[in-house]
Amino acid sequence: MKRKDYQIYISGTIKLGVGFGIISLLARWVTGNTILSSPETLIKYGLTGGIGYSLMGAFALILFGFLAKKIHKKYPGHHTIGDVLRQKLTPTGYWYMISVLLLTSIDSLLLQAMGAHILLHMIFPLPIFTGMLIFLLICFFIGGVGGMQRLHQLAGANVALIFGAVIIIPVYFYIQEGVYPVYEGIKLYHPYLLYINNTDAFLFIVTVILIGFGQVMIDRATWQRVFIIQKEKAQMAFTLAGLVWATIPLALSSLLMIIIFGRSYDTIYSLFFELVDKIQSTMLIILFVLFCFSAISSAISSELHATTTLIVKNIIEVFRTLTNKEKWNCTYIVSGMICIFLLTIVSFLEPNLLGLLFFFGNIYASLIVPLLYIILSKKVLPSIIPLASFIGAAGGYVSLPMLENLMAIWVSFAISSFICLVYFIYQSFFIELIPLKDHTGNFLGTKQNAP
């Protein structure tokens, strides 16, 4: 069999318009996290938390839309976040950022895999190992082997299933139950959900928006999509994807109320899947299960594809040039290994999703300003800029015993921003830029000359 060009694996064959761009972004961003964390935020922070979670996604994608336009303009011909980092950073900075990218990739993949784990555990009588093996095998064939083309082929079906479920199931339940009994039930069992003057919730909303933006900014799969959406449509696609995405957690939170209105609960994470017991109609059960699998599998496949691309294109290829065949072989091996790793970890660890999100929240928050600096600056940046995120994240973790989780995230953000600001002032006033020209007088770039 003749293998296709590796470029097709990375970017597919077509440039996406707004409609398909949104579909592709939704397939990536409606994840296990959305299904599992939005109920968690609702339980912890009430209705305001539920709205906050929706706002997080909307703002994160809309803000990244502004950057997408700039990225398209400034980095034509690139395909991944690694390509841009390689152009803008020194080797130390580059390798540091690649490590962070790998770490966050693993975090993100683990979150999805844990979601799948919970879902499989709830629904199927299969041993969890077998279930996960089959699930990850499917993801391996879609994202790891199939590439961007296969992801796009399935994205439409994924999003159709997602919308089918989030539209039909809440309507079905609220018609059946009515709003009044749900309100009364929640008032009785979970009255805290109905308080909206919750100052904690506002801090939570602002913080999750920060984390969400950091998460989207560092997301390899989203960067790849920036480069495959048509240049003039990138911002529009991201903005609309943000708005459309925000509707899904809202619908999910309304569903969650159906589940909890008549009773208490044991664990938050399994709560959502208990909906299966509540649904009477077989067709709706199938729709719900397909929705959950579709959301999680499309997110894992996209992540798997992006992480594999990053490892092959921006790590292995940096050391040695690979032929087309070698790239494909590397892809199979790398994505296979990631799947095996996920399978192993998920089989042994107990999940705590929001905890993981907040644990990495410090990293995401501290990455925002350095990444913005990297994207927007015109020249190659020294290692201090990417390392600012490390110092910021470390500062956040150090402050954890003194401050609460949410404030520690702001500390991380503030430290890394401060370092970037200091460097910006330093280089604006104290570093003279010498224009570099070739022998014919063409401008090649600038070099720094410290006094």
């Binding site: 318009g17 409609g19 949104i22 919308f163 539209i167 709003v179 009044y180 008032k187 809202l250 939170s253």
Partner: protein
Amino acid sequence: MITLDAFSIYIMICVLAPVLGAFTLLFLFIFEKRIDLLEKQTREIALERELQTALYNQLNKEIQPHFFFNTLNSILSLARLDRKTELIRSIETLSKLLKFKYQTNNTFITIEEELTYINYYLEIQKTRFRERLQYEISTDPKVNKAVIIPFLIQTLVENAFKHSFEKKIGDALLKIEVIKIEQAIHVTVWNNLPDHLDEKLGKGGLGLGNIIKRLDLLFPNDETSVQLTNSEDGTTVIAIFPFVIKSLMEKGASSI
């Protein structure tokens, strides 16, 4: 704590929001290609207009040397005949004429402006032909501010001199009439000495084909015509084009 009403509204928003999201997606899927196509068409139209303007300017330029050589020849004749006072007067008028001409870079001017220009030209010719030349210009006051392509009447008048008055002896009578009939402007240039040019318009000198092309470019969606008729009592050329006030035309152009 929120009330039942507020809770109901919250649930309603939660349930309806994905419907809106799905509609947005459906709308994009159905109409994105059409919107793209419309944008592409608008771009193409703009480009086509640019091209037309370029072509139009080129045609405008084309007519200028034609006129210029004829006028220079008139002045040269005056110099040869040693008619110094008339020579000075004609050079002065030519200077005014050229000034007007080089200020006219627009794709259209008013009939009033065009007629001012004709007057300069006829003044030059009058010095050359003296009493032999009699001319009469009659215009409908309503049409003064209407648009016309630059040098339309000029070309017709020049042709009268070139193909009739300069070739034949006898009185040279010229009548220019600009009137509005319904929503069209009729420009008629008549001279009393019929020439024997082929009545096919493209061959009626350089000017007529050029006028037809330029009228088509300026009024692509309206009917325009240029007719040349030779009869015993003279040659008549009638140009018909839509009546459009200049200010309206400019608004239309800027809205595109």
